[in-house]
Structure formats: C-alpha cells, structure tokens
Homo-oligomer: 121 residues x 2
DNA sequence: GATATACTTCGTCATATGGCGAAATATAAA
DNA sequence: TTTATATTTCGCCATATGACGAAGTATATC
C-alpha cells in the first residue's frame, strides 16, 4: 500500500506531471526542467526528489549536472505501469503539447547560459 | 490534464484507496464503507464524492441507501485503467487483505442495525 | 587551495486537505 | 403530515503540501 500511495501522491501535482511528461523523450538536466516549469530551482529539486522517492524517475550525476529520466525495466512494476498510464492518457494534453514545444527550444540553449540566467533571477 | 490530475489526486489518499479496493468485489452501501474505514459518515461521504468526481466510482440510490461501485465500460479510459492498475498492484497489500476479511463480516450485518450503530456513536 | 556554479536542504509562509460534529436534505415509515 | 433515518453539505480545526529565498554541498575551474 505504501509503495502505491507514494506513487499516487507523487502524481497528484500538476507540475510533477509536467516534469514526468517532459522526460518522455529522454533524460533532461535539472536546469532544463527548471526552465520549462518556470519555478524556483529549490522547488523543482523538491519535485524531482519526490518523483525519485516514488521510483518514477532515475537520476544520474555527471560533473556538476544532474540528469533525470523515466524509470525503465529496473523500476518497480507499479511505477513502470504508472508511467505508461500517464504517457497514454496525458500525451495529447494541451499543456503537455505546449511544454514539448517549449522544451525543443530549451534543449538548444547552452546549459551554462541557462543556469547563469537562473542564478540571476 | 485536469482529468488525469483529478484521478491522481483522488488516488492520493490511503482511505480512498481502501474504499476503492473494497468495491473490487461489487457495490457497497455507504454505511458498509463507513464501518470498514471506521471514520465519521461525513468524512466517508466526502471521500466517495471525490472518487465520484474523478470518475472512478459510480453511484446508485435505492431508497434511503446509496450504493457505490467501481467504474465499468461507461467510464473514461483513464479512470478504467487507473482502477485496473490499482487492482493489480494493491490486491496483495496487507491492509487490503485485512479489509477484505473485515468486509466479509460487515456485509453479513443487517444494514439497518449498522446504520443505527453509526448514528449512536 | 580559492572561487564559481549546479543542485539540494532548510526554514518559513500561504494555501490545500482530511478529520469531525452540527445542520440540511431526501426518502421511508408511522 | 409527522417522525425516523441514511447520506450529504457546511463550518471549523489541525496538519500536509507547495512555493520561495538563504544557506549548505559537491564538483569543476582558476
């Protein structure tokens, strides 16, 4: 029950759903997710940590950068199925389609520049 | 997005998960769910209304009694899939197994008596 | 080593949520 | 029509959650 509840609680927030769907096309750096959600770095970090605790995303550190991606085979069945359910039922959401467009631009921006901008604001 | 979020928020509470799983074997009267959860009638009613708003359960009124059941074919795809996911991943949960046992006793109690008891307390 | 920087953790605040009991509603029974 | 009763709605309170900025941590660069 606790595992399932961890998952459903993690999914019970719009910004976390957006973050998950953003990862559907492959891993992203935290600063890219920050940019897409237009939220404070600390807030996004917390969201990602909640998704990670629920087993919905995996994390990888590379130098100063932290990458997150959706769970794959290694994750729990419940988590993998939840992600699949999301992708089926959220792919055509207006918000998600819009986010996907925004992301296509964001991934073109140099990450150093992206982070510098976020530090300033 | 709002539909999906309504579902995930509805699922983000342990007592609502228990209520949903209780309905896995067929419809139940509100007073039976109240008894199983050991919560105030008003609280349970609110939980059921949230599940109903999310499209996860259907309601049927028969005289003074109100019956709730899981969504069937008529429900949204997202809701039906969510219920199926729950049933797959929660059926063996300790809490749910225990609730199922309790329910077997509850459905034997005369409903009039059940409700009278709940009014007193 | 010292500095810069990408991210996380912590403390705080405003709002959301879950719990209850009292009052309201709807239906059955007298 | 009055009374009883099953459920819901409302108002209140305590706790949980999401947001932020400041401080902390870890890694790269000077």
């Amino acid at each position: 029950m606790r595992d399932v509840l961890n998952i459903t609680k993690a999914l019970a927030d719009g910004n976390r759903l957006r973050a998950l769907m953003a990862l559907a096309d492959g891993e992203l750096c935290v600063c890219q997710i920050i940019e897409m959600l237009s939220l404070a770095p600390s807030t996004v970090s917390k969201h990602l940590s909640i998704l990670h605790q629920a087993g919905l995303v995996e994390a990888r550190k590379e130098g100063r950068w932290m990458y997150y991606r959706l769970v794959n085979r290694t994750g729990s069945k419940a988590a993998r199925e939840a992600v699949a359910w999301l992708r089926r039922n959220l792919a055509e959401s207006r918000q998600v389609v819009e986010d996907t467009k925004t992301l296509r631009k964001i991934v073109c921006i140099d990450r150093e520049e992206l982070c510098r901008k976020q530090n300033r604001s």
